[in-house]
């Protein structure tokens, strides 16, 4: 169970982005989080994925309370999540070829042997050809890069997937292909999913349960004033 209770988080403790938000995702469950741009749903997703320390509240992961975030979180907890971000260009290291990008988590966790085989297997799963794997991010399209980012998120076989507007910048066919890959992975492993987005139709069809951000909390500060997109790149804690 991924259980967020009364979470308050933001980038300025005096003016948090949201207060007292609670959300649970059961193992194997797919939950869609629906909300307008700038409301704080991406921040909540980052808190859930242990990438942003909340100002208040608790997070329980499979019954264990989470006490640390980012580098301070134990590696096993961090790698229990596979995260796919909205902007593939910003979430891919521009110096790494796609094969290295996908294999990076394996290398970072000391599992180099068998990395090539796992990369080839995942590339086939997400629909990347061998020649694309030798290219750098600026040499492929957004859709191809997002496929590589999804493969990177799956490479460590996470128990939880957090997709933060994964398909917002993609065409319908690529969206369908990526959602199919996620669903196939979930069917095979029983992983839970938190899909964040603002496309109600997509989330309703994709997820078993869709939660409206407005139902979780009312904004504590005047409605978010940040321009669209600025909430995607924030300094971590």
């Amino acid at each position: 169970m991924l259980d967020l209770r009364s979470v308050t988080a933001g980038y300025d403790k005096r003016a948090p982005v949201f207060r007292d938000v609670s959300l649970s995702v059961a193992p194997g469950e797919a939950v869609g989080l629906l909300g307008p741009s700038g409301c704080g749903k991406s921040t909540l997703a980052r808190v859930a994925a242990l990438l942003h320390r909340p100002d208040a509240g608790t997070l329980h992961l499979d019954g264990t309370p989470v006490r640390h975030w980012r580098h301070r979180a134990p590696r096993e907890q961090r790698t229990a999540f596979g995260v796919v971000f909205q902007q593939a260009r910003l979430s891919a290291d521009p110096r790494l070829r796609l094969a290295d990008l996908i294999a990076e988590p394996l290398r970072a966790t000391g599992r180099r042997e068998g990395a090539a085989g796992r990369v080839a297997e995942l590339a086939a799963t997400v629909g990347l050809t061998a020649d694309l794997l030798t290219r750098r991010p600026h040499e492929v399209s957004d859709g191809q890069l997002q496929r590589a980012c999804l493969a990177r998120a799956l490479v460590l076989r996470p128990r939880w997937l957090v997709c933060d507007e994964m398909t917002a910048m993609l065409d319908a066919s690529t969206t369908a292909a990526l959602v199919r890959v996620v669903e196939d992975y979930r069917a095979a492993t029983g992983a839970g999913l938190l899909a964040v987005g603002h496309d109600r139709v997509l989330l309703d069809r994709w997820c078993e349960r869709t939660v409206d951000w407005a139902a979780l909390t009312a904004p504590t500060t005047p409605a978010p004033t940040c321009p669209p997109g600025t909430n995607k790149v924030r300094r971590g804690n």
């Binding site: 990438l51 961090r78 971000f85 979430s91 990076e104 988590p105 970072a108 980012c149 998120a153 490479v155």
Partner: protein
């Protein structure tokens, strides 16, 4: 409108772009030729030309530039061209060694502060601010005065007072990179702090650090010259550019301009050449600038 109708707009753009490019190309080529000539002179003249730069000829003292001595002679009859080449050799050695040391120290400190953040970042940067508040020539004089005159105290003096700007540049760049989603992805993928720094952050700041290092070489040469001019740098018998200018001060007042002019040019020319190359390189590695150049 007439231009548009005649389809000449593209020609106008190309001609403007071409003009800018030719100026840049000329600057790049001139800088490259000057710097190559300087480096070749420094590397090849001492071993190939078997002339003694210390050879004194009192009969030929303070001779104006001519066929025998293209740059003239100093107040004890030593050939100034040879002295300048030897002086540049020492100054370049000091400049390169000091710039490399300052860049390594600055990059390490800046990357550590930026990557760790929090109180480490605040503490380190306050130390940097405090050190920056002291005029670096003054601090350099203090450092060099603690040692016996020589090349390495001058290198230490310049390096230890010039890593601060590199640390600031690197720290700012690391902070900017750290906020990007690809770092979040690395953290989520189990990368340690060390791995994130070495694999993702440092490669991103290397172009800026390398540019800072290249630009620091002439700056370090100026500092070496300033310290030697004040009599605090290299021993007076060593032909450094600062020493040459310092020794020639008296003759300048007596109307002999060459003993100060040529060592001064030997400082200015490599400085401008390095600045020209660094500017061209910065334009080349900056994708936004590059796309502007293509207009």
């Amino acid at each position: 409108m007439a231009d548009l109708a005649a389809g000449r707009t593209g020609t106008v753009w190309r001609s403007r772009g071409g003009e800018g490019r030719s100026t840049r190309t000329l600057r790049l080529r001139t800088s490259a030729v000057l710097l190559t000539a300087t480096v070749l002179a420094v590397l090849l003249v001492p071993p190939l030309v078997r002339l003694d730069q210390q050879a004194v000829d009192l009969a030929a003292k303070l001779e104006a530039p001519g066929w025998d001595h293209p740059f003239g002679t100093d107040d004890v009859g030593r050939d100034l061209l040879l002295r300048c080449v030897y002086g540049l050799r020492v100054s370049l050695l000091v400049g390169v060694a000091a710039a490399l040391t300052a860049t390594v120290v600055g990059t390490a400190v800046g990357a550590t502060a930026g990557a760790l953040g929090g109180w480490v970042d605040r503490g380190v940067m306050r130390v940097v601010d405090a050190l920056s508040s002291v005029p670096h020539l003054l601090m350099g004089v203090f450092i060099v005065a603690m040692f016996r005159p020589g090349v390495w105290p001058v290198v230490a003096s310049v390096a230890l007072t010039h890593w601060l700007s590199t640390a600031r540049i690197v720290r700012a760049e690391v902070l900017s990179l750290r906020a990007r989603p690809h770092i979040d992805a690395a953290v989520s993928g189990g990368a340690s702090r060390w791995r994130v720094t070495v694999r993702h952050l440092l490669p991103g700041v290397l172009p800026q650090a390398a540019t800072a290092a290249v630009l620091m070489v002439p700056h370090a040469m100026w500092h070496e010259s300033a310290l030697s001019f004040l009599g605090l740098g290299l021993p007076t018998h060593t032909a450094s550019l600062g020493n040459l200018i310092q020794e020639a001060r008296g003759s300048l007042l007596a109307g002999q301009w060459w003993p100060t002019l040529f060592p001064g040019l030997f400082i200015i020319v490599p400085t401008l050449a390095v600045a020209g190359l660094a500017g061209a390189w910065r334009e080349r590695i900056n994708p936004r600038r590059r796309s502007e150049l293509m207009l």
